[in-house]
């Protein structure tokens, strides 16, 4: 464990041979080894699954699992053998999937499981998991942990990198804490108090305030800025949702319950098949995100890398992109104005490093997320729809994002906040929409809910299975 920049990912890359060692010795089974590439490490039994999925979406599931070590017969690829091997790898994870299907059509969570299947399908002795659960929901995490424990019992060593304290406590025997690229300490999990773990991660910096639970700012009779009635699109059926100025509407649901689909339908990203969408009381049907943005409705995707950041463009270009797009091609933002604007957002959101010309793709996940928020906020939106804004970013940055969302709502923005983490939904949201199988099951004030009662609603455990 460790904070942003503590060196977790660098350590993982050094172990798996993705980065060369500058100094020091690594021993495997008592013999010193150096790996010049991930392939060498893999041959030695060290497999890894990285935080951001690095598979090939246009190949089949089986090809992805066997990529780089395809079974061969007479020098040719043995397709049948490949499918069988992929199937057995997935079976050992308890995942039922058509191995001939194209990977890209599956959800991110399924792709993550395929990445893990890929890692464990070799004869694995050391499995490195770098933030593997950041895109998984509770059920899938439990499933993953079951597999990890099984591998552990088979004698494999597991290195589990995560920023979720709960998961570390649930799964791990020992904890190593890194800070600023150095080892802080190694502890037995059962002997380590959580507060001590957080203190070790942060060093002598103080452990600050808890996020204030949002009090409702908008009056009960205030009209919603955006309201949807009977909204039907791919993945959702007949959803009723109201977004009020000054309020955060949390969205909770299992994977496949239509969380993202709801967000995409109300922001013009996906086409609406049926139902009515009203903005400030007048009926609107967005022809696309551009139209939605014009009416002040903006969307931030859960896929930061593929649908958010323009990685090779600078931080300044990324921040001003949406504003520039809204102004049109001919009315270019003057260079000084553009830099001032970007600099003000970098400062306001504390984006680090505070370098406007740096390619945005080189920033950490949390800072990329803040760049995306800045891009949206530069538009002065009325409705902000955030799909998993805290996914895959570290504890500290998560809280910064949550605080920011609260602050925005206090300033009169209507926010829709989607997260797999139910405690986060309850912490940030004023009201919570519960989705199940593409339907809105219930909309409740957050203060009437606990994580347990919300879990029950989300899983449909109270008998209402949608």
């Amino acid at each position: 464990m460790g904070e942003n920049g503590a060196g977790k990912s660098t350590l993982v890359k050094a172990i798996t041979g993705a980065l060369p060692l500058a100094a020091g010795v690594m021993t495997l089974d008592g013999t010193p080894r150096t790996f010049r590439s991930p392939v060498q490490a893999q041959r030695a039994g060290i497999s890894s699954v990285y935080q951001e999925i690095d598979l090939l979406p246009n190949l089949s599931v089986a090809e992805n699992i066997c990529l780089g070590r395809e079974p061969r017969r007479y020098g040719l690829v043995d397709w049948k053998g490949m499918r069988e091997r992929a199937r057995s790898a997935l079976d050992s994870l308890g995942v039922d999937l058509d191995v001939t299907s194209q990977l890209g059509i599956h959800s991110l969570a399924v792709q993550q499981l395929v990445a893990i299947a890929r890692a464990v399908s070799t004869d694995v002795r050391v499995l490195v998991l770098d933030e593997p659960t950041s895109s998984l929901d509770a059920d899938e995490c439990a499933e993953l942990f079951r597999v990890v424990r099984r591998l552990r019992d088979r004698g494999a060593a597991i290195l589990f990198v995560s920023h979720f304290l709960d998961q570390v406590y649930e799964l791990c025997d020992r904890v190593t804490v890194l800070r600023d690229g150095r080892l802080v300490g190694e502890y037995l999990t059962r002997e380590l108090l959580r507060i001590d773990l957080v203190a070790a991660m942060l060093g002598d910096r103080h452990i600050p305030r808890r996020l204030a639970t949002g009090l409702r700012v908008a009056g009960p009779n205030e009209p919603p800025y955006l309201s949807a009635r009977g909204l039907t699109a791919t993945g959702i059926r007949g959803a009723d949702v109201d977004l009020l100025p000054g309020e955060v509407l949390g969205v909770a649901g299992l994977l496949g319950s239509g969380r993202s689909e709801l967000a995409r339908a109300v922001t013009g990203v996906d086409r609406i098949q049926d139902g009515v969408l009203r903005v400030e009381g007048s009926e609107s049907s967005f022809s696309g995100p551009r139209e939605a943005i014009r009416l002040g409705v903006v969307y931030s995707s859960e896929n930061r890398r593929t649908e958010g950041i323009i990685s090779e463009l600078s931080v300044a270009d990324n921040i001003t992109l949406a504003l520039q797009a809204e102004r049109g091609v001919l009315r270019r933002l003057p260079e000084t104005r553009r830099r001032e604007l970007a600099a003000s957002w970098v400062e306001a959101l504390d984006i680090r490093p505070a370098d406007l010309d740096r390619p945005a793709g080189t920033l950490s996940g949390g800072n990329q997320q803040k760049v995306l928020l800045a891009r949206m906020l530069a538009l002065a939106p009325r409705v902000l729809v955030l799909d998993e804004p805290t996914r895959g970013i570290v504890v500290g940055a998560t809280l910064e994002v949550q605080n920011l969302v609260r602050e925005l709502a206090d300033n009169g923005v209507a926010v829709m906040f989607i997260s797999v983490e139910l405690d986060e939904v309850l912490r940030v949201g004023n009201r919570v929409v519960v989705l199940h199988s593409g339907r809105v099951v219930e909309t409740l004030p957050a203060e009437d809910l606990t994580v347990d009662s919300l879990t029950a609603l989300v899983t449909g455990a109270d008998g209402d299975d949608g």
């Binding site: 920049g5 959580r194 995100p289 969307y299 995707s301 593929t306």
Partner: protein, 352 residues
Amino acid sequence: MARVLGHRLFWPVAALLALVVLNAAVRPGFVRITVRDGHLYGALVDILRQSAPLMMVALGMTLVIATRGIDLSVGAVMAVSGAVALTFIDRSADPGALGTVLVAIAAGVAVGVVLGTWNGFLVTVFGVQPIVATLVLMLAGRGVALLITGGFITTVVSPPYKFVASGFLLGLPFALFLSAAAIAVVAIVQRRTALGLLTEAVGINPEASRLAGVRSQGIVFTAYVASGALAGLAGILYSSNIMAADANAAGEFIELYAILAVVLGRTSLLGGKFSIAGTAVGVLIIQTLQSTVLFLGVSSAQSPVFFAFVVVVVVVVQSPQLHRRLSRLSGRRRGRTAPPAQPATRDLEVSA
């Protein structure tokens, strides 16, 4: 020094200079420029003049490649444009009149715009992959040109038309002005409006751009239209140079040379960041190289091999992989390793 070495265009410019120096060494007259009848003559002037059609095509290709696309139809568009312009002049009452020629040029460029629109239409509205969409026209275009000329090589006598490629203005070839104007217009439109930034955004990440409200389709469409228009103009230049519309020879293989120029100018074929100046340098490298091949008297059978050899050297010298390997090698020889990166320290707020 490090800034010069690290500049994006250092290697392309270095390659161009190396070629010029090499030429100057083996042929003393290479850099000499003489004045005859108030006109400048010399090998360098010739290279600049002859590079004009490739320059136009490569500029358009740069924009298309920046959007993750490719335009294979440019050579065929050149053929059609030349055929239209010359056929118009041929059938007009007064082939030598300035008015006739201006209309003919406008018609040639307009045909380029129409064909570019067709490409853009296939790519954006129907989502046909750019290589396939433009392949259609690449194959069919020359047939269309033959249809227009009636299967013959149309030749005309028209001094104003000849002026486009062979005339002189203020002592310099007129084609050079056209070529410079094309570079200036493309650079200004891309960098003084937001088109360049939005084109790069769409090229790097089309879906993210769409979600940010960028009119992705419109921008891609614009790139194909621009490429078509520039290829149309290149077709005029080519046909003016030989004063004939040759449907088969016009712009033959120019799409490949244009792609090569774009790549030599450090614009990635994966789309995104592009460099107009880089493409211009790339075009000059290719043209200088062709002039070199001609001068060295490499037999026409061997010249592609020589050409390919030099291109491979230039491309490999630019490869970042090679630079990384070389710097690793020199670092190892000096017995030191890179210092570990300083981790960024952060003040973070965390709830326990």
